[in-house]
């Protein structure tokens, strides 16, 4: 049998299918259809966890996602371990391993419970007050201790082996919640032909109807009607049923996040399946059918295991066939607990007494309870309970007309069921920015003005009577479909035979007559917040509910106060003697229930975290043992170490080879834009600082682009392929930024220009061949291009063929040596690269990476945008004043350059730095100062932007931006470092071949 407390029959579980699972190392048996909570209760286990702060023994309180106490860790091994799962939502399967949390060494005996003894010191805001002295102790003692104690559950240390996926989906009507209102809405909406999604967080759809035993719908039992309705929905092609799917977040324009749990309930799930799937749903209309949550009554010692919600007990009895105890006492402020009492009694639980807060309860449910022989105590409250790991008795008190409480009796029991009425679940409505309205009669905040295209139906908008709920759902479903544009289906009225339980209830702390400083009435179970904590916060001056919430942490646990918020509000309202709506309501934020990091990460992990852009030469470089670096999304070869070489040795060798013979470098990642049209040169003139009108086809020019603020934004060489066609290159990281900027100008400022832009970054592979022997390497490979000095001077471009494929061959140099950049269609990049390497073999051709490229360009004082510039550098600052076409009427950024501050003489200017000790290599980013002995804060004159060891010069070199730098050339400054200041001499920012003799060969 599946536990001592399993009724012999009844419920929706399958007693023929036993399921074994373990909890805290002990093996138990449940049955198919059980949750972990129902299976534990069936085995008589109520104690499932220790509370967060005081380590109080805690039991199962609810039967759903509002559960504050029964948080457990699940998973047979560390990799599959998930902490803080609600036992009420975990479906058991064969071999499930679960454990309680926040206890040591065991759940029944927990050392942490010593915190109880210090409770007077651990009240709300204790960490602001208690650990003040001595000040130094906070960092070393208090904070580490508190941090170790804080947090619930244990994060798994191993990587998550499960798959998670994310899918976008669209529907006309999304119905959230598959209780009676949601099912009726889905039936009505889908009857119009609309695409309908119906999601529900539970494994089985049906909501409250799954535990309804007496009401009849259209002459059928609730269970039969539900089965029929779901079968009807499943048969419709335009309906998608999504069980185990929590709508956790509402984002603008009806974009909702739904988390579907796919394998958590399966033993040995198909490894192909994701553990969870994130549905990113764009719904034209949303129907909220999220129901209502039962509110606990707050009274002294209301947190012992065995004290639970009346409706939860009814669900365990009716739906799971589980008796949550032998003898129950009911403490209620509404009729629904009577319905629960009757169902429990018929399931076999003895009901010792019903304590009703109301002075004169009456009506059909009260009459039925009395007729069933239950003792109803009117105007009666619970003043306390006893029992260490499980409740064993309840103290009742009589509530006088003056509000005073007099002790009346003590009743032995192992179950205390409470009900303070129902709170509509307006979380998602509130997330959608809808305005809530307080309803005095229902003591509830209800959806008021909508902001998004949504509507609420059923209990989540305060409609509790089943017949009214079904009809409200129908109206909402067809209304939503109509709003989408589907012809509404004929209105359907459901006939229900059943009695309403009304809408009585209570908010706040029930009168108990105890000394408030000695009793502990728990408002927020999960964060251990008591009546006293809230009152203390108010005494200390917190008035706003948002402040009370943060000071006491009520409602801030993982359940976001589903069971506690209204009672906290009620207590503040009682204490401040201010109407509840004036106290206000805290904000509901996504997610509705805790959601895994895995499902937010989805497929974006490992290789798929980000696109990794590779050039056509990448695999060749990998085979050569290249070390790569990330440049934006690209992988670029950083250097090519030979066996036994470190980076320094490899770079020295690569630099020497390029300066003395020939090097080959993959420049494919450079951004490229083709500018074509009659007005192409005009656009170039307006965008670049340089003048382009005089550039002849077949020639190239280095150009600089400024932002409108006058600061350098990008640079690169540009070839004029024809009078109406330019081939632009940009920096690797700036490609899309430049294209976007140019396209923006063309479309919005100068639509009259006949010019169009096309990104050609990925069309061309760019093979840079540099060094005195580069011409010799390329000459035999090209057709139709004369590479000689006379016919193809520095800064020219020719079209022709190389290795039989078309090329745009640039004669250009970023190294200071004779050099060429071979552009070939990307698909031929690898083949042409290999052909050049083969042809260069005889000349000692050496592949080099970005590090060598940087050293070589720094030796020549060529800047790199983003290294020598940082968004505050003008062309003149970095020595590029010569690129500005003085005769030009205008270009982007020109006006900004005329501002006085942009022309000030003490701006930071690009200079070269030579350390007095040639072996010392400066650190990039280091500050440059005049007097390293000046007391801090020193006057900082500038900073090092590039710094390398130059094998060619056999000394270190550096570039720096220094205030008024050009006037300081020839002087000495200092670079203060932790090991002492480094003396540097300021020089012209060019270290090698200043006349450019090596280029013109």
């Amino acid at each position: 049998m599946s536990g001592r407390f399993r009724a012999p029959s009844g419920g929706r579980v399958d007693r023929a299918k036993p399921v074994r699972f373990s909890f805290d190392g002990q093996s138990y048996q449940g049955v198919a259809g059980d949750t972990l909570a129902s299976a534990l209760l069936a085995n008589g286990v109520h104690l499932v966890g220790r509370s967060f702060k005081y380590h109080r023994p805690r039991g199962i309180v609810t039967a759903g996602s509002d559960e504050p106490n029964a948080l457990v860790g699940v998973g047979a091994d560390d990799a599959h371990y998930t902490p803080n799962m609600r036992a009420t939502q975990i479906e058991i399967y064969e071999g499930l391993v679960a454990e309680s949390q926040n206890r040591w060494p065991s759940l029944r005996f927990d050392v942490g419970a010593i915190n109880e003894a210090f409770a007077p010191f651990l009240s709300a805001g204790f960490y602001y007050k208690t650990f003040m002295w001595p000040p130094a102790a906070w960092k070393r003692i208090y904070e580490p201790l508190i941090r170790r104690a804080a947090g619930l559950g244990r994060a798994p240390a191993k990587p998550d082996p499960d798959r998670y996926t994310q899918v976008y989906a669209h529907c006309d009507v999304l119905v959230i919640g598959a209780g009676p209102a949601g099912m009726a809405a889905a039936l009505a909406a889908s009857a119009t032909g609309a695409r309908v999604f119906l999601c529900d967080e539970q494994a089985e759809m049906g909501g409250s109807l799954l535990s309804e035993k007496t009401a009849m719908i259209e002459g059928q039992s609730a269970g039969d009607w539900t089965a029929g309705a779901l079968a009807g929905l499943a048969a419709r092609a335009n309906v998608t049923l999504m069980p185990r799917t929590t709508a956790f977040g509402w984002y603008p324009h009806n974009f909702l996040g739904l988390c579907e749990r796919i394998t958590d309930h399966l033993a040995g799930a198909d490894p192909k399946l994701p553990r969870e799937r994130l549905w990113q749903v764009r719904a034209t209309e949303v129907v909220l059918a999220t129901g209502a949550l039962e509110r606990p009554l707050v009274f002294p010692d209301n947190d012992r295991p065995g004290i639970m919600m009346a409706e939860a007990a009814r669900i365990y009895a009716n739906r799971f066939g589980v008796l949550p105890g032998n003898t129950a006492v009911i403490f209620t402020a509404c009729d629904s607990a009577y319905r629960a009492a009757l169902d429990l009694k018929s399931a076999g639980v003895a009901v010792a007494a019903i304590a009703d807060l109301r002075a004169a309860p009456g009506g059909v449910w009260v009459d039925r309870a009395r007729a069933a022989g239950m003792e109803v105590r009117e105007a009666t409250v619970v003043t306390g309970t006893t029992g260490r790991l499980r409740i064993d008795s309840v103290n009742l008190g009589k509530l006088g007309p003056d509000g005073r409480v007099s002790a009346s009796e003590t009743i032995a029991c192992d179950l205390l069921l409470t009900s303070g009425g129902f709170t509509p679940s307006v979380h998602l409505f509130s997330q959608s920015r809808g305005k809530l309205v307080y309803d005095e009669a229902l003591r509830a905040f209800l959806p008021g003005t909508s902001v998004e295209r949504e509507r609420s139906v059923g209990a989540c908008r305060g409609i509790f009577d089943l017949e009214a709920v079904l009809n409200d759902g129908t109206a909402g479903g067809s209304g939503a479909a109509e709003a989408v544009g589907f012809a509404g289906a004929a209105g359907r009225a459901f006939a229900v035979d059943g009695d309403s339980v009304g809408s009585d209830g209570f908010i706040g702390v029930t009168p108990h007559g105890g000394d408030p400083s000695r009793t502990r009435a728990w408002i927020d179970f999960q964060n251990d917040v008591t009546e006293n904590d809230v009152k203390l916060a108010i005494r200390e001056g917190f008035r706003s509910i948002e402040h009370v919430k943060r000071y006491t942490t009520t409602g801030m646990a993982t359940d976001q106060g589903k069971t506690s918020n209204m009672n906290a509000l009620g207590l503040v309202s009682q204490t401040l003697k201010r109407p509840l709506p004036q106290v206000g309501l805290t904000t509901f934020r996504p997610p509705y229930t805790p959601t895994t990091f895995g499902v937010f990460a989805g497929q974006s992990r490992g290789d798929l975290f980000d696109p990794v852009r590779k050039t056509p030469v990448h695999d060749w470089a990998v085979a050569q043992g290249a070390v790569f670096e990330n440049v934006s999304l690209w992988k670029r070869a950083h250097y090519f170490p030979k066996p036994g070489e470190d980076m320094h040795a490899a770079v020295v060798r690569e630099c020497r080879a390029t300066r003395q013979a020939v090097g080959i470098f993959d420049a494919t990642t450079l951004g490229k834009i083709e500018v074509v049209g009659k007005d192409a040169a005009e656009l170039m003139n307006r965008i670049y600082t340089n003048s382009w009108a005089t550039l002849e086809p077949g020639r190239i020019r280095y150009g600089v682009i400024l932002g409108e603020n006058g600061f350098v934004m990008d640079d690169g060489v540009v070839g004029r392929m024809a009078p109406d066609r330019f081939h632009i290159t940009t920096t690797t990281g700036g490609a899309s930024r430049v294209l976007t900027m140019m396209e923006d100008y063309v479309q919005t400022e100068w639509p009259n220009l006949d010019v169009w832009l096309t990104s050609t970054t990925e069309e061309w592979a760019v093979i840079s061949v540099q060094g005195p022997l580069s011409r010799k390497v390329l000459e035999p490979l090209v057709e139709g291009i004369d590479l000689s000095r006379a016919s193809m001077p520095h800064m020219s471009v020719r079209e022709g063929k190389i290795c039989g494929v078309p090329t745009r061959l640039f004669r250009v140099s970023f190294t200071g040596e004779l050099g060429f950049e071979v552009n070939v269609p990307a698909g031929y990049g690898r083949a042409v690269w290999e052909a050049i390497v083969a042809a260069g073999h005889a000349y000692g051709i050496t592949p080099y990476g970005t590090e060598t490229m940087h050293v070589l360009r720094a030796e020549k004082g060529f800047i790199v945008v983003g290294q020598e510039t940082d968004g505050t550098v003008t062309p003149d600052d970095c020595g590029l004043g010569w690129t500005i076409g003085k005769a030009k009427k205008d270009f982007v950024g020109k006006r900004s350059l005329a501002r006085p501050a942009m022309m000030a003489g003490d701006r930071k200017q690009l200079v070269g730095l030579l350390t007095v000790d040639p072996k010392t290599v400066l650190e990039v980013g280091a500050q440059v100062v005049a007097d390293p002995n000046q007391p801090i804060p020193m006057i900082m004159l500038g900073h090092v932007t590039s710094s390398y060891w130059s094998a060619t010069l056999n000394r270190s070199i550096a570039l720096a931006l220094v205030r008024g730098g050009r006037t300081r050339i020839g002087t000495r400054l200092s670079v203060p470092m932790p090991d002492g200041p480094i003396a540097v001499e300021l020089v012209e920012p060019i270290f090698y071949d200043p006349k450019g003799a090596r280029l013109d060969v």
Partner: protein, 188 residues
């Protein structure tokens, strides 16, 4: 040296191990000539006549005839694709026909590679990275659009109800392929 270098598809290596998943099948499309045409309205008609396929005027639609397809990419922008043709010859013939017009023609044959995804679950698989509503009502056969797939930009088109073409820049192709493969895994 005049040996024609061998063209390499950026997906060649990944696509050499295609799993047989009938409900969502991935394949690499053969290389084609691709030209990007942009121009003033007068040039658009000329280009259409010269190409043999009129430039679609409706946003996000493509027209095909023989092996040639014109994809609408923007109000003044079309991608012209010609299967099995040499891009240089196509470029030259269009360029000649367009003489005197205001236009831009750029050879982008190597800029992108293309993937097909076919089968009853194709749209669902695409929705693992593409946020568009891919139902036949809102994304009918004959539609094309630039959109995203995960973190990459793609051009998506639908030649048949259960067939999509994904044109993606070379360096993003392996990411898109792997993300599609990962999503298809559910049906492997």
């Amino acid at each position: 040296m005049s040996d024609l270098a061998i063209r390499e598809n950026s997906l060649g290596r990944l696509a050499s191990v295609i799993r047989n998943i009938p409900s969502a099948t991935l394949a690499v499309l053969p290389d084609t000539a691709k030209l990007l045409f942009r121009g003033r309205p007068a040039a658009v008609d000329v280009a259409g006549r010269a190409f043999g396929v009129a430039m679609p005027q409706e946003a996000c639609r493509f027209s095909a005839r023989g092996g040639r397809t014109a994809y609408w990419c923007g109000p003044d922008e079309w991608l012209l694709q010609a299967g099995g043709e040499a891009s240089a010859a196509l470029f030259a013939s269009l360029d000649a026909a367009l003489a005197g017009q205001s236009y831009s023609l750029v050879d982008v044959s190597h800029r992108s590679d293309a993937i097909t995804l076919s089968g009853p679950e194709a749209a669902y698989i695409l929705n693992h990275g593409c946020p568009l509503d891919l139902s036949l009502q809102t994304f009918p056969v004959g539609m094309c659009t630039r959109t995203i797939f995960g973190k990459a930009t793609i051009m998506l088109s639908r030649p048949a109800p259960e067939l999509f073409h994904i044109d993606v820049w070379r360096s993003f192709a392996s990411y898109v392929w792997q993300l599609l493969e990962e999503a298809c895994g559910e049906f492997a």
